[in-house]
């Protein structure tokens, strides 16, 4: 992004996005300076293509041929929205916070279930009221500021929620943010949420992106997560039920206070194009970061996990563990950058990405990067791309297990080892079930 790119003509999608901003800016409430500046950055950068290093393997400029329109928040009747929500359910005990087509919907949310010490407010309201704290927190610490997808999100954010967990509060039940798209004709949403977890607080947070049908939705979500000192957040994000042409762009901007712990996992059982970018900054000593992910892809699906882990202070620990199962002609991308700043001594970092290729046409792109400026650190990375092990399959077959079942057993095992990172048993069980369904569909094909 630092190198100036050659001038080029705007694509149809870029034109449409700029036009959306121009026509909608009167409806977009609050933060007008922030939005305008972000749009100006987007106008300059355009959609990222292969020449933008961090987007090299996910050429959004050619993927996003047509930018779908944003829909009014009341497009879908409440009753149908409720039915659509049911399909996105993974936890029975969570307090659900619902965004429908990008707009926060208290009427669809379980506000009565919100645990004590947790409040939820509309982002759009806060921006309209000029809430200084929200505005200040909204861009994280400027991470990803020059990322075109973040710029678009900032310029076009329709709504979202501000979740506050008071200091010292252990939220008694998980908060499940659901970004639901009503579906039908292709449509887009831009959602920005802000989760602020006070010192010593504990939060289990789930974020689901789903559509009510298999339509071609385009969702651009950003979640700003501020984790206070000695706080702990267990976060799971997942995509469910979207069409083959769906494009899901998700950005996490997280900061960790001293002594805090952040466990993040993303589960992708297969959508059209999914890009998860995670910018995480360890800002206080003795904090721990665990990021994991599992992607199960088939057809021409594409999943990209791009991480920037920034060790800004000494004595922190980070682990990244991402697995991919790639069938048919699907594509996996793992880009993990770990930055250890000069004074961030005693950093302990380890990053791993592993892929099993099932399809002859599948491909995996790995780009681990370590930028280490401190001298007393332990940091490593490893990436493996392989096939199922023939010897293991033979061993299972020699015990009477049919080959497809033997493959499923091995793939299940591979997937479980990633899913084990999820602390919430109900979610883990649901994902194991979905992995089973994914494998069964493979066997049936």
């Amino acid at each position: 992004m630092n190198k100036p790119l050659p001038i080029r003509t705007r694509t149809e999608a870029e034109e449409a996005l700029v036009a959306t901003f121009d026509s909608a800016s009167s409806n977009l409430r609050g933060a007008s300076d922030l939005r305008a500046a972000a749009m100006a950055r987007f106008v300059k950068s355009g959609l990222p293509d292969r020449r933008v290093e961090s987007w090299h393997y996910t050429d959004l400029r050619s993927i996003l041929r047509r930018a779908a329109p944003v829909r009014p928040g009341d497009f879908m009747p409440v009753e149908r929205a409720r039915a659509g929500l049911a399909s996105a359910e993974a936890q029975t005990h969570a307090a659900r916070i619902v965004m429908l087509d990008g707009i926060y919907r208290p009427d669809l949310s379980d506000l009565a279930l919100l645990p004590a010490g947790v409040t939820v407010a509309s982002l759009a309201d806060a921006l309209a009221e000029g809430d200084a704290e929200a505005l200040g927190a909204l861009t994280g610490e400027g991470q990803g500021a020059d990322d075109p997808v973040v710029s678009l999100n900032t310029a076009l954010m329709q709504d979202g929620v501000i979740v506050r967990v008071a200091a010292g509060v252990e939220a008694a039940r998980p908060i499940a943010i659901a970004n639901i798209m009503s579906g039908g004709a292709p449509h887009a949403a831009f959602v920005r949420s802000l989760v602020m977890v006070g010192d010593g607080a504990k939060l289990r947070l789930t974020e689901t992106t789903a559509a009510c049908d298999e339509s071609e939705t385009q969702v651009n979500e950003a979640l700003v997560l501020r984790i206070g000192d000695n706080a702990r957040v267990d976060y799971v994000s997942r995509v469910v039920r979207q069409g083959a042409g769906a494009i899901s762009l998700h950005t996490l901007l997280a900061t960790l206070g001293a002594g805090s712990e952040f466990n993040g996992f993303s589960f992708n059982p297969g959508v059209g194009v999914d890009r998860r970018q995670m910018f995480v900054r360890l800002n206080g000593r003795n904090s721990t970061l665990n990021l994991g992910g599992l992607s199960l892809l088939r057809g021409r699906q594409h999943a990209d996990s791009t991480l920037v882990v920034d060790h800004a202070v000494p004595d922190c620990r980070s682990r990244e563990f991402f697995r991919y199962i790639l069938d048919d002609e699907s594509t996996g991308v793992f880009q993990g950058k770990v930055v250890v700043r000069q004074h961030a001594q005693k950093t302990d970092g380890a990053m791993k990405s592993q892929a099993i290729m099932l399809g002859d046409g599948a491909s995996m792109n790995n780009k681990p990067e370590l930028e280490i400026f401190a001298d007393d650190v332990v940091c490593g990375h490893g990436a493996t791309v392989g096939q199922l092990d023939d010897d293991q399959i033979f061993y299972l077959q020699a015990r009477g297990i049919p080959k497809p079942e033997a493959e499923s057993l091995l793939l299940e095992a591979f997937a479980y080892e990633a899913l084990e990172l999820i602390a919430d048993e109900q979610l883990r069980a649901r994902f194991i079930e979905q992995t089973g369904e994914w494998l069964a569909a493979r066997g049936a094909a």
């Binding site: 092990d389 009477g400 297990i401």
Partner: protein, 249 residues
């Protein structure tokens, strides 16, 4: 039970089995001894149906049916069992899960009913106790981090549960301590029956003191070079294989 006729097997350009003939009768325990690299494991893999071996000539009949066209799964379901010289490690698959998958697959293939979980658990518990396999080992990923001897015991546990017609034990005694050798041999002896045959591949007479073979075959240079009774094993202990390697040359 087992009839191997004029079996020729190569891997790539390399000929490993060179016109091997072998018959194992119903209820018979046959031992195969022979120098390293002579093709004993290759024979066991070819019978079990491992890919990567070119059978250029010959037949392998189990109960009169040529099994060479079957895949490994079908052979297992037809009653062929191989206790591996080097059992594979299967990360992430709990031993119990694997045992259940194997037992159920074979039950299904034979048109039987799958075992209910409590019955299955009881069966596994009993069989593993006999082999002195601790229960917590069954919760671990199959063979991962198991000691050499533990892996071998696990092979025999699988055999005991699957009750094959033809069991091939490829150096099951290697890696076993003296006590484990006796436990494993007892496990094998308990399964000896008129409708079950064993092909026991070993380098050591000691195993054959515990599992008394009916016949002993000497394999050299890809063939059976000599066949005799249990006394042949004792003879080999003294003379070694020099005569056979020479004879075949």
């Amino acid at each position: 039970m087992l009839e191997v006729r004029n079996l020729h097997v190569s891997v790539g350009d390399r000929k490993i089995l060179d016109g091997l003939n072998l018959t194992v009768k119903d209820g018979e325990v046959a031992a195969i001894m022979g120098p390293n690299g002579t093709g004993k494991s290759t024979l066991s893999y070819v019978i079990a149906g491992r890919d990567g071996y070119d059978v250029t000539e010959g037949e392998v009949l189990v109960d009169g049916v040529n099994i060479l066209d079957m895949d490994a799964t079908e052979r297992a379901n037809a009653g062929v069992f191989l206790a591996f010289q080097y059992p594979m490690e299967i990360p992430g698959v709990a031993t119990m899960t694997f045992l259940k998958a194997a037992l159920n697959a074979q039950a299904r293939a034979r048109g039987g009913k799958e075992l209910q979980t409590p019955d299955f658990m009881k069966k596994v518990r009993e069989a593993s106790q006999k082999l002195q396999i601790p229960q917590d080992m069954l919760k671990r990923a199959l063979n991962v981090g198991f000691s050499g001897g533990e892996k071998k015991r696990m092979e025999i546990l699988q055999m005991a549960l699957l009750q094959p017609k033809l069991a091939i034990l490829d150096e099951t005694d290697s890696g076993l301590d003296i006590d484990a050798l006796r436990i494993v041999a007892d496990g094998v002896n308990a399964l000896r029956a008129q409708e079950r045959s064993f092909l026991v591949i070993t380098h050591y007479q000691r195993l054959l003191d515990y599992i008394k073979p009916d016949t002993v075959h000497v394999m050299a240079r890809g063939r059976i070079a000599k066949t005799g009774g249990p006394e042949l094993a004792h003879e080999l202990e003294k003379t070694g294989y020099a005569g056979f390697v020479g004879e075949a040359a």
